[in-house]
Structure formats: structure tokens, C-alpha cells
Symmetry: C2
Subunit: 151 residues, 2 copies
Amino acid sequence: MYFEDFAPGQVIDLGTRTVSEEEIIAFASQFDPQPFHVDQQAAADSMFGGLVASGWHTCSMMMRMVVDGLMAASSSMGSPGVDKVRWLLPVRAGDTLAVSYETTAVKASASKPDRGVVWSRWSALNQRGELVCTIEGMGMFGRRPQESGHA
Amino acid sequence: MYFEDFAPGQVIDLGTRTVSEEEIIAFASQFDPQPFHVDQQAAADSMFGGLVASGWHTCSMMMRMVVDGLMAASSSMGSPGVDKVRWLLPVRAGDTLAVSYETTAVKASASKPDRGVVWSRWSALNQRGELVCTIEGMGMFGRRPQESGHA
């Protein structure tokens, strides 16, 4: 996909991913070792009532789905960041996340004619159809190479 | 730290962390397998001129430092999300990140007297003093238990 292939309102289905207890604990042990992310008993006694994935783990799993379903076959030139990351409901072991990418706006670069910016909204629903995480993404994408139409 | 221990303008130094090539590739292989994050040769040929960490990896490393330096010894009750994640400069193998947490605002909950919200700005500087990543965080913290001062 080139910059020209994105249009506001377009929604790309990125498929599903199930997260295991082992994955939740492995990620959080490295990056977010709060008791309710790494210790089953402490998690059961916490406000969550059981083990929950680190929000950063949820974002990282969503990123993998964006790469596999979109970026890998695109002219992606990286991202300056993301906005409004929202962890709306806990993600628990065994949950299956269905992730989608909605293009919300596009803008060709005024200064760099080879690229444009695409704004997007990433959403993850669990197996009960509940929205568990949203992210507002920004990405730079190269423009489709022009045929050299002039002599 | 309880909610009452946070005040706007306060800056907490979370120390430093050096990131290795192995860590960059291991994280990105799982969560962000774009060529410039996982393949040295492809990265050398990319706009980055060498391997760079996934932005989500940088955020996750910062989260670990926030947990170790602050959350672990706090009344943290989780976070509804983060805003304005900005990947300002590449993070490369061998870089040492110095991370800090600045409290930007605090607000006691009107509806739940046992807690309050703390807004923060997380910053990562590399070994050259260049700002490489910023995150605007939101966290819920329990209030300090009251002495029962009345009869």
C-alpha cells in the first residue's frame, strides 16, 4: 500500500490473536512487573481479580498485527508517535483480540513530495465484542512512484 | 508514594538503561518485525542507516523504569492510558537512556474519595543528552490512609 491507497473511513481488518498466560507473564516480567501482571495469586487478590496483560503488551500485540496485516506490504517510512492510547478493559489470559485499522485522515506532505501522513484509529475488541484498547496512530507512507509520462 | 506525594513540577530521576542489539531484535521479532528493527543489513540500507529499536520497545523500557523507580513502591491503581507518545530520534544498539518522570498535574477524584489522578511527562534522553522519546502518562493512585482522628 502506498500513501494514495489510504482514504478516510476505510477499515482494514487485521484478524485475531489469542494471548496466553505465559505471554502475559513473559512480557510483564521484562517490562511491567506489577503484581497483577506477573503473579497469579497477587492478581487474584487485586482490584482486577485475576492476571491482566500490561497495557504496553496489548499495544505491542496490536502493533504486530498492524505490521503483518498492513505495514509489511506498504511503503511505510516509520511513525513520529501515537496519541490517545486507551486501556479500556482488562485483557486476560485466553482472550482473543480482533484488531482493526481505520484510516481517519490523510495529508500529502507539502515539503516532501515523495510522502504523506496517514492518521488512523486502531481498535481491539475481545471475544465478547467489548472494546478493550484504542490507539490513534500516525504513519508516514511513501507515495506511489509516478510513471515518467513526459518525454 | 501515595496520591498526596505527587506535586506538579516534581521530577523523579529513574536512572539509566542501556539497550543491546539482541534486545532490539528480540522485541521487534515478536512485536514489530519491520526490516529496520530486525535485520542489520536491511536496516543499514534503510533511511535509518542502521538497526533502531521499535518505538514500542522504547516505551516498554521506559515503563519498566517507571515501575522499578516509582510504581513498585506506590499505591498505584493502574492507568486508563497515555497520550502524545512521541518517538523523536532513533534509539540504537548501545544507546543508554536516562529516564525521568515529571508530575504535571494532580486531581483528587470527586466521586471516589480513596484515590486521585496524577498526570505526568516521561522523558528519555540518550547518552548525548538528546531527547529521544516522550510520553504523557495518566495514573490512578490511592490516597494516604487517614489516621482515624475523631472519637
